[in-house]
């Protein structure tokens, strides 16, 4: 199926953001046969399960990641219900341990790590850099199968009773005392790690080798930059986790002793190896989210990203420094005081690049013409929660303070703010922003706004009380607690209820829009970027002729001047057609928001 005739010579020079391929109203129907959308390029199950199209694989990931999100969410609901009372009368001690372990394992390895890279990265990176696919399409499919295999192992673990070690598999609990399925669970994580490595490898090579002419490193979308940084971590850190898990399994099966002091080993070594992966892993979870938010903010502000180079560079800086701070998880584990001091210092340094991003987003939004559409609201929610999570990370990184709140609910709140508040918000933002591109249909703005707000409120109600709980001394991983903590726990559980509804909501109206949504047209959001120059949904081979990039990224200047004009329609009084939204150069300007519910006609 390769289009071998396309060479540099016969590529039409195109400047971006040239849009309007075909009439938006008819979607992809009017475009020639070779432009059949990727969704229609085959209807059999086989054509999906054996596809090498990065967009279809992205959809496969989207479906499977969503399923794991709900399994992990169900475990979380169980925990929160159990914590309503101080006695812990719903679950046994053992049952509680197993529930939070499965929650952690599934959420971290089967949702947070693959969610944004494997769905949106897969879908968007080739489109954004002007490539026909990822560098190794078959490898991409294989890594989905590996992911599913790991998932099946996890499900087996779940059915056969689960694990009780926590997602960190700390020794000696995991290697000697646990009576759960540690080996099977470690195998599951080991397998899914391979999937991560292969995806990271694919991304790195793709970004290096498949950029279209003119797409220089200085013109890469920030989304691509952050995925590139993520991929570096995936490739370099995940193997360390793999070997650590293999050692745990060996320790358990035939008494290896590497982590057992009685046999001459060192239990701290486990923590070093584990956190050498797992601290960078938190950046695997959050860097793609930062990339998403950069795109959302630029599109919402209709301005070039302030300090593009710094935002791009900060992703790489985070990736690099992220490798040097793992020891902050071990302040009270008995490592040397000097090591702790160094790790403490380095951890404070890692906040600088994150801070750069937040400041530059703010500067980008300054004087931007912003409309409160769902992706923007999700992005704002992200920033708020990310800042709280990041600042409390700084608090934890300070040696003296951490001794007080270590292993309390304060830590639980910290990482949920970053991972759930941050990454999951960004994931939903991405889902709303690129949904029209992926599906070719638009979805409800009103419902989108509602769920963005509900997620933000529900989230804060769930996790803010946990900061207080932790500060007051409630340890993590306990389900029988002192009665004076109950009020805060009940608040938290109530928030979790709201959150559950708020997370379920998008799946209903997004699903609904697949059938009933209005056709999106190539660029419903009026954003720049190559992905918006192809029809929605994109054709199987993305670009009929490979594009040539001639300008800088986020080239919003023109729209910026025109924004006043388009802004009038946003109030909902004018029902502009899509043609009206294009300025005289044929570029779509800011899409006017239509009346509530209209998108579903």
């Amino acid at each position: 199926m390769t289009d071998r005739t396309t060479t540099i010579d016969d590529r039409r020079a195109r400047s971006r953001p040239e849009t309007g391929t075909g009439d938006a109203k008819t979607g992809d129907a009017e475009i020639g046969t070779e432009q059949v959308s990727y969704l229609r390029a085959g209807h059999t199950l086989r054509s999906w399960l054996l596809t090498t199209d990065h967009k279809r694989i992205a959809i496969l990931y989207l479906i499977s990641v969503t399923i794991f999100f709900f399994i992990g969410g169900a475990a979380a609901a169980l925990l929160r219900v159990d914590l309503l009372t101080p006695e812990g009368d719903l679950l046994t001690n053992e049952g509680y341990n197993r529930a939070f372990t499965l929650h952690g394992v599934i959420m971290v390895w089967f949702f947070l790590i693959p969610s944004i890279p494997n769905t949106f990265g897969n879908f968007l990176i080739p489109l954004m850099i002007g490539a026909r696919d990822l560098a190794f399409p078959r490898l991409n499919l294989i890594s989905w199968y590996i992911y599913i295999l790991g998932g099946l192992f996890t499900v087996v673990v779940l059915i056969t009773g689960g694990v009780d070690t926590g997602w960190t598999f700390y020794t000696p609990l995991s290697s000697m005392f646990s009576n759960g399925n540690v080996v099977l669970a470690a195998t599951a994580v080991f397998i899914v790690g391979f999937s991560s490595i292969l995806t990271g490898l694919n991304f790195i090579v793709t970004v290096h080798k498949l950029r279209c002419p003119g797409m220089t490193w200085g013109r890469l979308p920030l989304f691509v930059w952050s995925h590139y940084a993520t991929a570096l971590i995936l490739v370099l850190a995940t193997p360390v986790l793999s070997i650590t898990l293999a050692l745990i399994a060996a320790e358990r099966v035939f008494g290896l002793g590497v982590f057992d002091p009685a046999l001459g080993g060192d239990p701290l070594l486990y923590q070093h190896l584990f956190w050498f992966y797992s601290h960078p892993a938190v950046y695997i979870m959050v860097l793609p989210a930062l990339g998403v938010v950069s795109e959302l903010i630029a599109a919402a502000a209709r301005k070039p990203v302030f300090g593009y180079r710094f935002v791009a560079g900060s992703s790489i800086a985070i990736a690099i420094i992220g490798f040097l701070v793992w020891g902050h998880h071990m302040f009270v584990a008995g490592q040397s005081m000097y090591a702790s001091a160094v790790f403490s210092f380095l951890s404070l340094v890692v906040a600088v690049p994150s801070g750069i991003k937040v400041y530059n987003w703010t500067a980008t939004l300054y004087k931007g013409h912003i409309s409160l559409d769902p992706p923007f609201l999700f992005a704002m929610g992200f920033i708020g929660l990310f800042v709280v999570g990041g600042l409390t990370g700084l608090i934890l990184a300070m040696l003296a303070v951490d001794v007080h709140v270590h292993d309390t609910y304060f830590v639980v709140a910290h990482f949920h703010y970053i991972m759930v508040g941050g990454t999951v918000s960004a994931y939903f933002g991405a889902l709303h922003f690129w949904w029209p591109k992926m599906i070719g249909r638009r979805t409800s703005v009103v419902w989108g706004r509602l769920s963005a707000v509900l997620i933000f409120l529900g989230f804060n109600l769930t996790f803010f009380p946990q900061f207080i709980l932790g500060y007051l001394g409630m340890p993590r991983r306990y389900h029988v607690y002192a009665p004076e903590f109950q009020v805060l726990h009940v608040m938290s559980s109530a928030g979790a209820g709201i959150l559950a509804v708020a997370y379920l909501l998008p799946f209903t109206y997004l699903f609904y829009s697949m059938r009933y949504g209005a056709p999106a047209g190539p660029n419903p959001v009026g954003a720049t970027g190559l992905e918006w120059t192809v029809p929605s949904p994109p054709p199987k081979h993305n670009f009929a002729t490979l594009p040539v990039v001639t300008g800088p990224p986020y080239d919003y200047e023109i729209e910026h001047e025109e924004a006043g004009k388009a802004g009038g329609g946003r109030k909902g009084k004018a029902r502009t057609t899509r043609r009206d939204r294009a300025d005289d150069q044929g570029r779509p300007t800011r899409q006017a928001k239509t009346a509530p519910g209209e998108e579903w006609q």
């Binding site: 060479t7 080739p126 399409p137 490595i197 490739v235 070997i243 293999a246 590497v258 080993g265």
Partner: protein
């Protein structure tokens, strides 16, 4: 690089682009392999730091010369793989097939020697999980032999994979199923993998056997 027989795969427009992407993919993969073994090296170094004297004593019980012989075997095979690439580049596919078959053969020799070494250790009660009864001088020696078994075992798994790859490549080269220079990248990538297996051994050998 404008040979018509180049088999262009999907996302690529030019042979050169595809070739350099394949090579880079392999290098990235090798980097992750190095990190995998890096974890094991970290384990071995920590052991040495915690128990310097005992680890050295344990290391003394390994068979320096058998390990040395194996190093020689692997280095030779690496040379043959390099020759395979060289001849493949010159489109001499039969020669290339011969060299990669020879390299695969040396890989098997390596595995055979390794198995012999394991069997001696097992007989002396020094191989964890296999020896009955075990006769370790103490927990540290047990631990050291565990690490030794895991590290060399993981390496042997890599050697086995490499042997299979080389043998398969030799077969395909012989039968003309790998058109040259169109699929030269297959030869180069396999060779890279074999060199890595070799290099890892070159580090494992001193860390386990020599640092006594």
């Amino acid at each position: 690089m404008t040979d018509r027989r180049v088999d262009l795969r999907d996302p690529y427009a030019r042979p050169h682009q595809q070739h350099s992407a394949d090579m880079m993919g392999m290098f990235v993969f090798l980097a992750s392999e190095i990190m995998l073994f890096g974890g094991l090296f970290a384990v071995i170094f920590v052991m040495r730091r915690l128990h310097p004297a005992e680890v050295v004593a344990a290391s003394m019980r390994l068979h320096l010369w058998i390990g040395g012989l194996n190093t020689l075997v692997l280095l030779t095979s690496s040379l043959m793989v390099a020759l395979a690439v060289h001849t493949a580049r010159a489109r001499r596919r039969h020669a290339a097939a011969g060299w990669s078959a020879a390299a695969a053969l040396l890989g098997i020799v390596f595995l055979a020697i390794k198995t012999y070494e394991y069997s001696i250790e097992a007989a002396r009660g020094l191989l964890p999980a296999v020896s009955v009864p075990t006769r370790f001088s103490g927990p540290v020696e047990h631990l050291f032999m565990n690490a030794y078994l895991i590290a060399t075992g993981l390496h042997a798994v890599h050697v086995t994979i490499g042997v299979l790859l080389l043998a398969w490549m030799a077969l395909r080269l012989r039968r003309g199923m790998l058109p040259l220079p169109g699929r030269i990248v297959t030869v180069e990538v396999t060779a890279l993998y074999w060199h890595l297996v070799d290099v890892i051994w070159v580090f494992l050998y001193p860390v386990l056997y020599l640092a006594r």
